[in-house]
Symmetry: C2
Subunit: 415 residues, 2 copies
């Protein structure tokens, strides 16, 4: 990708009504475009980050047999009436509209009921269980306020997975596997060290659900973590959880955190409400066990911006960055050498964002830093004379390295 | 992919209210699930086909500098008021809803105005032009009737691209390039021979637009094509086009066809309505030239089903099929050999749908045919004794080939 060809431009300002730091930076760096409060479009750079996050999640869900599907935004009233969740007094984030014949339709804020309604068509017998399906879906939620940028939008992308089981034991075992692959996702996103499996509020079937909480000053939650970081509890269930687990509250210290995932055992509650059963090996009709697993894809992107950004701008972990290298050319010779280097690195599969603009070096460096690309690679007339390249890492404050061509390739092509 | 692990099942029937052949077959074969009329979810098999179509389009749009983005479903009333298209009397397919504070919002049926509103923030000078952006987006259209399955849905996926230019000449040149890459798309989908660039109705700026029409009995359009297949005209503009082009109407023969793409030059009309200008090299403010280019991704999938299906079911072109090989095991030895073959072919990058179920051979063959997988590969006790494999092509009526292992691999791994 060449910066001169990107239609987006960096900006020193963001919309006056944009109060969240993640959206301010993402707008300034040209990753998102604000359509209205809580509603953002994703530009070529932003879409790359989203797709990188999705691909990590996809690989991990596939690794435990998740089958990718895509449900719909338009939903039937009848789908939600059985569980009482069509009612605006029970679910206060519905966007609703009407067909031409005045039939009410809902715009999907969730797909739990919709997926179960579909699955009941396919699951007849215990032989059809267990099964697990997931999607990356745009969710629409009519939030009263939307001031957290892409961390909590009125329109956002979520990975939601649903596993269906014949027995509680089978559901519990799969649920524990999901915890492990979720942890792998956060590790791969670059936030593994600061993300905790957290006890959070449960429901009719289970006393606690689990959240994945990332320590982050911009988070809306308070997380209580013990010193060894083996137990984490959301403040909302602090009393219950410490009692249940037999932990001294004083051993847990509070810290601000952002939820980056939530998993939940419905047990047979949803199936009973919706009348969804299977025929077990003993011939009896039984309700299906259900658990659901969500990761807000756009939310994760926002949390990562909040967590790592510094005074110069965004800092992406390499695994989700839109490019690995921000290539800066300085001078005429530098420009020719950079053209060749860009072609060579690209052919070797290195994602390079090449700032080929006729602009001041300082402007180029500042833009690469604002965009948060992991490495800035400089090719200048002066360096070429010395047979050298300058490579600087975005996320640490070590000074730039001066490398020979071989050192450069060894460093960035193989790593 | 193993058939035993797919949660979908084939079925001998489709919903009673489903009148379109494409949706009937796609539902029976387990590619889509009907949520309501004109609204379909895509199961693992269906999603694969969609993604294959999208990837072909993506590669072709990228090849002419298209930049992929993703806009939003929620749209502002103000975005559409400038061109008069918020009015339900002018656009009769809007789904609309309201924010909590009673602000009206629209659910995107199109993104022309939304994209232009975004682009005006980035395009200031002639140096920022030309540029071209596209997305794969869910469109919601409140159609009065929805009886064509996935060929015309209330919710569907479209690739829409928009190119912006400083001059008419530049727009025209790019428009012609798009015609070429569109033709490449249809060739790669396997419908190149029967798809025609067609004169269709234009607008304020241009007498004609261009459609891409595929000859297909299920199509809603009538196409007039000359014998050499060098000219095609939509019936709706037959008189105008023949007059304009100086063609004898009698040299064109009518045939039923389905629109699979539409491209359109807005010229400066949209920019003038919306007040979107750029500063030209002479310092003057001028309106931007715009052209737009659509391919209905789900629609293309439906048209291909309609066009190629036979009495046994769907027939996918290999380029978009969810798998290349439908692997059928028969008998105990056959099953062990098929397990090994599945692992080996998969490791060589061949997409195999492995029917590993404990089912009658006839049921397996029928399902593979209903699903439309290009090749059925059979491994049976009897064949193993002969050191042979049976390979049958789905789309032609030639009988099955009996191949040695080397012949099999030469045939399917390299082709």
């Amino acid at each position: 990708m060449k910066v001169s060809q990107l239609f987006t431009k960096t900006s020193k300002t963001s919309p006056a009504d944009e109060v969240s730091r993640n959206a301010q930076l993402l707008i300034r760096a040209g990753y998102v475009y604000k359509v209205m409060a809580g509603v953002y479009a994703y530009t070529p750079l932003g879409l790359r980050v989203l797709e990188n996050i999705k691909q990590i999640v996809r690989e991990e869900m596939n690794s435990i047999g998740g089958q990718e599907i895509i449900m719909t935004s338009l939903q039937r009233k009848e789908t939600w009436e059985g569980t009482g969740r069509w009612d605006d007094n029970k679910v206060d984030v519905w966007f609703k509209s009407k067909l031409k014949d005045d039939t009410e339709v809902g715009l999907a804020w969730s797909h739990e009921e919709a997926i179960m309604e579909m699955m009941q068509q396919f699951i007849k017998s215990y032989k059809d269980l267990p099964t697990s399906v997931y999607q990356f879906q745009t969710k629409l939620r009519n939030e009263l306020r939307a001031k957290s940028g892409i961390m909590r939008g009125r329109e956002f992308v979520m990975k939601d997975m649903y596993s269906l089981h014949a027995t509680k034991e089978d559901m519990d075992a799969y649920y524990n596997k999901v915890i492990q692959v979720y942890q792998r996702c956060y590790e791969r996103f670059g936030i593994g060290d600061s993300t905790f499996v957290t006890f959070a509020s449960g429901g009719a079937f289970t006393k606690f659900s689990h959240e994945f909480q990332t320590i982050c000053d911009a988070g809306e939650d308070i997380l209580y973590v013990n010193e060894e970081q083996t137990v984490a509890v959301n403040e909302e269930v602090l009393d219950d959880a410490t009692t249940e687990l037999g932990i001294e509250k004083s051993t847990l210290a509070p810290t601000k955190s952002a939820e980056v995932g939530n998993i939940f055992k419905f047990g047979t509650e949803k199936s009973e409400q919706m009348g969804i059963t299977f025929t077990d090996s003993d011939g009896a009709n039984k309700p299906i066990y259900l658990a659901s697993y969500g990761i807000g894809i756009t939310r994760v992107m926002g949390v990562i911006v909040e967590k790592f950004a510094d005074e110069k701008g965004i800092v992406w972990p390499e695994s989700i960055a839109p490019a690995k290298i921000y290539l800066v050319s300085i001078g005429k010779q530098g420009s020719e050498a950079a053209d060749a280097l860009y072609a060579e690195l690209t052919s070797k599969g290195v994602d390079v964002l090449y700032d080929d603009r006729d602009a001041r070096p300082g402007e180029k460096f500042a833009d690469g830093e604002l965009m948060g690309i992991p490495y800035t690679l400089t090719v200048s007339d002066r360096l070429i004379e010395a047979g050298a390249f300058e490579l600087k890492h975005r996320s640490n404050n070590t000074s730039a390295e001066i490398l020979t061509r071989d050192e450069l390739f060894a460093s960035i092509v193989t790593s």
